[in-house]
Subunit: 406 residues, 2 copies
């Protein structure tokens, strides 16, 4: 009987350990799997032979804590394996380690780059006629930019966190008169899904106007200043949500727009964010009270404000990846298909990783309003089911408790 | 029978509306108070005569929602009344508005500056022999720097939020190898209490070392770099908590240390934070992966992660302020006295606002470790009871619901 190996890769999310929990639970329950191993720090852990046996850790109690633990409990990496046609070294080492631990099933949880690793590794095995190693992907990314899945595990929790803090910041920005502008910068270099989730808070706003700018549209500073001025005619406070990857019509990032002056003391180009650049522009051109906030890493590890829907789906996608692996379908990824909108209903399916790897799913243009400063009802309808339900943290002495793989 | 007026001032907190709720509840229950009014935007709302009657809003249901609503539901201001010996204009207007609405009790919820307003206004009334207007303060500030109260309402929730995200960021910083430094900047220009609360997460850390720098001690960049290097010998990840107000031995703020180069495109001095300056220093002098996060406004409005202890005490301090007012004790503030450490127990008392106004309570030097890069067990023992217990949010469609005073 073969063993199963699982690893995590790419940027952390609040729910990637829920997917790991789903993998572990399904593997433990399968009569076709003997031992369960985890590789530390993704595929690098395989290459370095830093595997850890997890079989005895898989208890109901541990999994309940693990699924509530943010970031990657097994560690992560950003390592890209080379094309095997050019250099087989990594692949030979990987197969050698798999043989050593009698690994028959490898589940790789990750985003775009990780799915590319799944693709290459499964292709390599096919080419070399290695038919007793099955390689399957399970998706994750807060960026929500993976193709062929309705949405990505981790995104719903990040969206819920962002919408929650936007609602709180809306209370905050309202307290002072006169005019008061608050700019909130979200992650996402290549897709505006996270920024768009501010609209979930916007739809509940009774007074405060929101302006939302996604990187799918070119950004015009002139239009932005005019939008803010108009919003301030409506109310004394304005909340602005922006993507870090905002760029002008020439594709130049807004945060790079003043190269010469944004340098730090060592002459490095200052990593001043998009929000900070807009803050300076509002100060200069409107002259009112203005502040910018970079939500930064908090949006991808806020397990204390997880979406129960996201957590459950993330778990199920892990379990489904094991199911695919047991059917010996190498080179597949578990995915979500939305089969009904109201009531919201999803089904789990398998998709080819080759169609997922290196593709980025952008926000559809039709979901951005004409003015380019907000989103449409289609976007709200898409986002709303993903943030439903709350996960209770396991509190100990006033703070959430987490599961650590020693 | 006289009416009661309540107003809120200074920076928002997650719990200032819990104090407002306590005031409203006690006022409604008192047979000595007829109508209840709120002034919009603090004392400015009195001066502008923008009062709103709240009597009929005071229901159990509304108060439960209000006590979970962050920031100041009545709005806030940063207005300082002049010394009445120099200019009586404001005072005459205030008393005129009080007369118009038959106000006999005025409760002002706020920090240092607001307590100064309470002091001046109560002194003015004494001087002018106005004996039917009682002015009482109720404390609030996330900075926890008010004198004569064991701790300040709002601080416990901010501390719980900070410790929670530090625990999450600890998971986050751990996932990548090799060396990885994460710097988190907390609010507090003049006292390091908020930054110190990172130690609540530190004491639970199994692996990741923490370095905590409070502004009560002079900051040395050389020592900091050496501390980080030492920590990286211990483990591959380090978490650093710093106060925005860190300064060198000459009192110069760290965030001002590179004036010439940190300018934005308009020639403004860049508001680059302390964390960003330290990030650049680590990059330059150690050369490892490093990132900085400014927690910013999120720490003072994170009602979704409130401390139940803080919320209850905040409510009680509001109710106690009404009790003081009904006893006609003008110029007092409600305060907390810790009467027992284990089990934690507090009592409510009145203190003279004149001893609170314009005084800042710093972190005692004895609670900072010898090296100046962490806190002692006394600090942990002080902080720990303040973050106990969780407030359940009132969720509606996946997001916390709030009470808005229309």
């Amino acid at each position: 009987m073969k063993n199963l190996l699982v690893a995590q890769s790419g940027g952390p999310t609040a729910a990637i350990n829920a997917t790991l929990s789903g993998v572990l639970d399904a593997a433990k329950k399968s009569s076709s799997i003997s031992k369960i191993y985890g590789a530390r720090n993704g595929i690098q852990g395989v290459l370095r032979d830093t595997l850890v046996e997890l079989t005895n850790l898989v208890t109901q109690e541990n999994l309940e804590l693990l699924r509530r633990t943010p970031a990657a409990a097994l560690g992560s990496c950003r390592y890209m394996v080379k094309d095997w046609k050019e250099d087989e070294t990594d692949y030979q080492k990987i197969v050698e380690v798999f043989r050593k631990y009698n690994i028959g099933y490898f589940i790789y949880i990750g985003g775009n780059d990780s799915m590319d690793t799944v693709r290459k590794l499964s292709e390599y095995c096919t080419e070399k006629e290695i038919d007793d190693i099955v390689v399957v992907g399970a998706p994750k990314t807060i960026d929500n930019d993976l193709a062929l899945t309705d949405h990505c595990p981790g995104f719903g929790s990040a969206a819920k966190y962002i919408a929650t803090i936007m609602r709180e910041l809306e209370r905050e920005v309202e307290v002072y008169t006169p005019n008061n502008v608050l700019i909130v910068e979200m992650m996402g270099r290549h897709a505006g899904w996270l920024t768009a989730s501010a609209a979930l808070a916007q739809q509940k706003s009774k007074k405060v106007p929101y302006l939302i700018y996604l990187e799918e549209r070119s950004f015009s500073m002139e239009k932005f200043i005019s939008d803010v001025k108009n919003a301030l005619k409506q109310y004394h406070a304005v909340l602005v949500a922006v993507s870090e990857g905002l760029h002008d019509a020439n594709g130049k990032f807004i945060c790079e727009s003043d190269d010469d002056l944004h340098q730090d003391v060592f002459g490095h180009k200052q990593l001043s964010g998009t929000g900070k650049v807009l803050e300076c522009a509002v100060k200069e051109q409107i002259g009112c009270k203005v502040r910018s906030i970079e939500v930064n890493l908090l949006q991808r590890c806020a397990a204390h404000q997880m979406s129960a829907t996201d957590n459950e789906e993330s778990w199920n996608l892990g379990a489904y990846a094991v199911k695919i692996a047991l059917q010996k379908k190498s080179g597949k990824m578990s995915a979500l298909r939305r089969v009904n909108q109201q009531p919201y209903q999803v089904e789990y399916e398998e998709v080819d990783v080759k169609d997922v790897a290196n593709v980025e799913k952008k926000v559809p243009d039709a979901w951005i309003n004409e003015e380019g400063n907000g989103v449409t009802q289609e976007m709200i309808a898409y986002l709303n089911p993903l943030i439903q339900g709350e996960m209770e943290c396991c509190y100990e002495d006033g703070l959430p408790n987490y599961f650590i793989i020693e």
